[in-house]
Symmetry: C2
Subunit: 153 residues, 2 copies
DNA sequence: CACAATTCAATTGCGCACAACTCAATAGTA
DNA sequence: TACTATTGAGTTGTGCGCAATTGAATTGTG
């Protein structure tokens, strides 16, 4: 194995590994902050999308969250079982399922509004850092997605 | 809901969300690159640790990868079933289990050495960006971990 | 109109992450 | 030396992420 291969391996490893670790560390903070709401972080993301848009098809929600039906279907079932959303076939296209927040789901928004402040406080991050990181990650994701999709053609 | 709460929520959401997305995008690249080796990314991380250290207890491996036995035990079982590692009770402390690569596991290192180059090529990232990102993520993770652990006391 | 291709959601199966728990081995202490 | 506390792996159960498949509804094309 060449020295170059060793170095590349080490550097690459550390970046993706660091990414994983940061995601999981963030997840732990959110898990704490969301415990009172009985929401997981992915469920919280779904509720945020629904709070913002009011009603979404499963497909559109999947586009917004970058998730497919294999992940969303059971997640939405759990949110429905918790009484936070309702699901109904679209009358215009019976293939689509419309997801909307119930009144309880909408009411949860008020309590969820406290979450970001708690997370920000515990993480001690300032807005500039968040912006910088978000920009870097966005560009990285775009490049990775571009590198992934065409490779499958 | 105040305007501040709305903005904080939006910004926070985007950063953790961006983190999640970048991790998953990276995961897709690695999944492709690791397909020929019949390894998942977490399994690849475990093998890297074993290639570097030769023999590790489950506990030490968990510290290196930030994983607990609930994740590692079944993962190592699969690596053992694939013939890449062996597990044996430590003679010095019967509670510990020593994990070491088999000859097949060690041999896999040669093929795995090609992976980082492929990932780097497909992601189109230069070393400076990787270093910058790694530093930013490392500091972020440290702060998140510090914010998490004490909060539970 | 009839038929093939596509779209959308759901389901199944697998692996990872995490919490909670069990059990055996060890360490610490009265 | 007994007894308790702690440690290290493993197991169980839940939820997420992804691939592959199914089945119904729709679209398009002859």
């Amino acid at each position: 194995m060449t020295v170059d291969a060793e170095n590349l391996l080490r550097l690459e490893h550390q970046v993706c590994f660091a990414l994983n670790n940061a995601t999981r560390a963030f997840g732990a903070i959110y898990r704490d902050a969301l415990r009172d709401l009985n929401l997981t972080y992915p469920q919280y993301l779904a509720m945020m999308a629904l709070w913002e848009h009011g009603e979404l098809t499963v497909k559109r929600l999947g586009e917004l969250l970058r998730l497919d039906s294999g992940t969303l279907s059971p997640l939405l079932k759990r949110l429905e079982a918790a009484g936070l959303v309702v699901r109904e076939r679209s009358p215009l296209d019976e293939r689509s399922v419309l997801v909307s927040p119930t009144s309880a789901g909408t009411a949860l928004r008020e309590r969820a509004a406290l979450v970001p402040a708690e997370v920000a406080a515990r993480a001690g991050l300032d807005a500039d850092e968040l912006r910088q990181l978000r920009g870097l990650l966005g560009r990285l994701t775009d490049r990775l997605d571009a590198a992934d999709a065409p490779g499958k053609c």
